[in-house]
């Protein structure tokens, strides 16, 4: 399946529009890592654990969006956007959404 954030895929034509599809996930790290991150807040620098966590959750969100698109018979999702919001302390929601289409 083609996942892309542009509207026109080179060399392909959209045959049918199937509307909006989305996938989201809410994730948190365990307390130990939150405490480690708290220490990092004193000294500055990258929080590798969180980078990894958010990367994984983004892949998960894209995966769910892809499943939804496959379920309605699409073979591509175009114009994909990401959105992140902090829900409570230590947890964030990641949303991926796009337009499901059928391409020839």
């Amino acid at each position: 399946m083609i996942i892309s954030n542009i509207e026109i895929i080179p060399g392909k034509r959209v045959v049918e529009h199937l509307g909006l599809v989305q996938g989201s996930t809410v994730r948190a790290k365990h307390v130990g890592k939150d405490i480690a991150a708290g220490f990092k807040n004193l000294f500055g620098g990258e929080l590798g654990n969180y980078t990894e966590l958010l990367q994984e959750s983004r892949e998960e969100a894209v995966q769910r969006m892809q499943e939804q698109a496959a379920a309605i018979g699409a073979n591509a999702v175009i114009n994909v956007r990401f959105s992140t919001s902090a829900i409570t302390a230590g947890a964030s929601e990641i949303l991926a959404y796009g337009t499901a289409v059928v391409m020839e």
């Binding site: 996942i3 954030n5 620098g45 990258e46 958010l54 992140t84 230590g90």
Partner: protein
């Protein structure tokens, strides 16, 4: 007596934050400049349409993200700045570093897949609410775009 101890702890943290924070920032900037030089060949554009020579390329989503935390010295500096208003330099450099790092990771991911260019670059910034009570804790920057890969 308690006040003196609290003050001592505060000052120690401030010094530690300053020393480690500025060292981390210096090192990070150095590595950013070095990698930017290496990845200069891979063009990243914000235009939505593929370039003329790339109409038959494969399009694939690539992304790069980074979470960077502020140090104690900077957060104190920024809260002082909040009293008088104006440019919060401490946070400006933090976000600048995060954005450039995210773009570098996006470029690295695109290069790994043999891309010629990345188009339609978008940024997404959010704060990670580890310590929601005390101002900005750490920020996440995500850069994503479409890699144009020759068939």
């Amino acid at each position: 007596m308690d006040v003196i101890i609290q003050l001592a702890v505060f000052l120690t943290l401030l010094c530690l934050g300053y020393v480690f924070g500025s060292r981390t920032e210096h090192k990070h900037y150095e590595s950013i400049r070095e990698r930017e030089e290496q990845l200069r060949q891979l063009v990243v554009l914000t235009s939505r349409l593929p370039l003329a020579g790339q109409l038959n390329h494969e399009a694939r989503l690539v992304s790069g993200n980074v979470v960077i935390s502020v140090d104690f010295f900077k957060s104190v500096l920024a809260s002082l700045r909040n009293l008088v208003g104006g440019n919060v330099n401490a946070y400006e450099s933090l976000l600048d570093r995060a954005r450039r790092e995210a773009v570098l990771r996006l470029q690295a991911a695109a290069k790994e897949q043999g891309a010629e260019a990345v188009i339609n670059l978008k940024f997404e910034t959010s704060r990670v609410s580890g310590n929601a009570s005390q101002g900005l804790g750490s920020v996440e920057v995500l850069a994503y775009g479409t890699a144009m890969i020759p068939r």
